[in-house]
Symmetry: C2
Subunit: 120 residues, 2 copies
DNA sequence: CAGGATCCTTTAAGATACTG
DNA sequence: CAGTATCTTAAAGGATCCTG
C-alpha cells in the first residue's frame, strides 16, 4: 500500500465513488459474462428498482465500463455488455470479492467480540 | 470474475458496505504504516468531521480492521493502528488504487465522449 | 485530547405513474 | 420493452456544544 495518504480527489476515490456501491458491483458482475437486457438485469438483481438500475447503468456507461446497444426491434431491445475496460475492472473487483470470502469469518468473529465487549 | 451473480447479502457486499466508502479507505490508508492518534487523523484526512471520523474508526475497529489503544496519559491519548487482517485488506484495496490510477485517463475520456454525445 | 449527543441540511433511494 | 418524471421517505453527513 502507498505511504502517502490518499488525497480527497485522487483517481482512487473517483473510482470508488462509482464502483464501490452495491448496485454497480452487482450490475458489472451480472453483465460480465454475457450481454443482458434491461429487464433481464432487473430480475437478476433481486430488489433493484428500475430507477436505480437505470441510474447505475447510465453511470457505468458514461464511465466506459459497460456498453449500451439499442436493437431496433419492436418493441425496442437494449443490450448491456461489459467493455474491455470494464473487464479489467471486474477482474480487480473480483480480488476484493475473494478477499471478502476468505475473511468474512474473521470479520464476523471480530464483530461478535466487539459487540460482546460493548454490552456490559 | 464469478459466473454466478453476486447475491444481495454475500460477503462481498458486506465488505463493500464497510470498506468501500471514502472515509474508510482514507482511514485505513492513513493508519496503514504507523499508528496515529484521533486528532492527528482528523488533520490528515482533510475535511472529515469528528463525527464521521469517530463513526468510521468505530466501524473499522468493530470489523477487526483497525486496533484502538487507549494510553492513560493526561489528557488521554488514543492510538489507532492497523491489524493483521486490516493489512491484508489494505493490500487488496491497494490493487484497486493501482487500477484506478492506471485507468483514470480512460474513464475521464469515456466520460467526455459520453457528455459530448449527450448534449445535442 | 478524544469523543458523545443533538440538531439540521443534503443526498440517496424506493414507490408510483406515465411514455416512445 | 426500456426507460423518464415526480413525490416521498430514509439515511448520510456536517455544525455545534458539551464532557471525562
Amino acid at each position: 500500500m502507498a505511504d502517502t495518504p490518499i488525497e480527497a480527489n485522487s483517481p482512487m476515490l473517483l473510482v470508488l465513488d462509482r464502483v464501490a456501491n452495491k448496485w454497480a458491483v452487482l450490475a458489472v458482475s451480472a453483465v460480465c459474462n454475457q450481454p443482458k437486457r434491461f429487464n433481464q438485469l432487473r430480475r437478476e438483481l433481486g430488489g433493484i428498482s428500475q430507477k436505480m438500475l437505470s441510474q447505475t447503468l447510465k453511470r457505468l456507461e458514461r464511465d466506459g465500463i459497460v456498453d449500451r446497444k439499442v436493437i431496433a426491434t419492436v418493441p425496442v431491445t437494449v443490450e448491456y455488455s461489459i467493455t474491455p475496460l470494464g473487464k479489467t475492472l471486474a477482474l480487480t473487483v473480483d480480488q476484493l470479492r475473494i478477499w471478502s470470502e476468505q475473511n468474512i469469518e474473521q470479520i464476523l468473529a471480530a464483530q461478535a467480540r466487539f459487540d460482546a465487549a460493548a454490552e456490559v
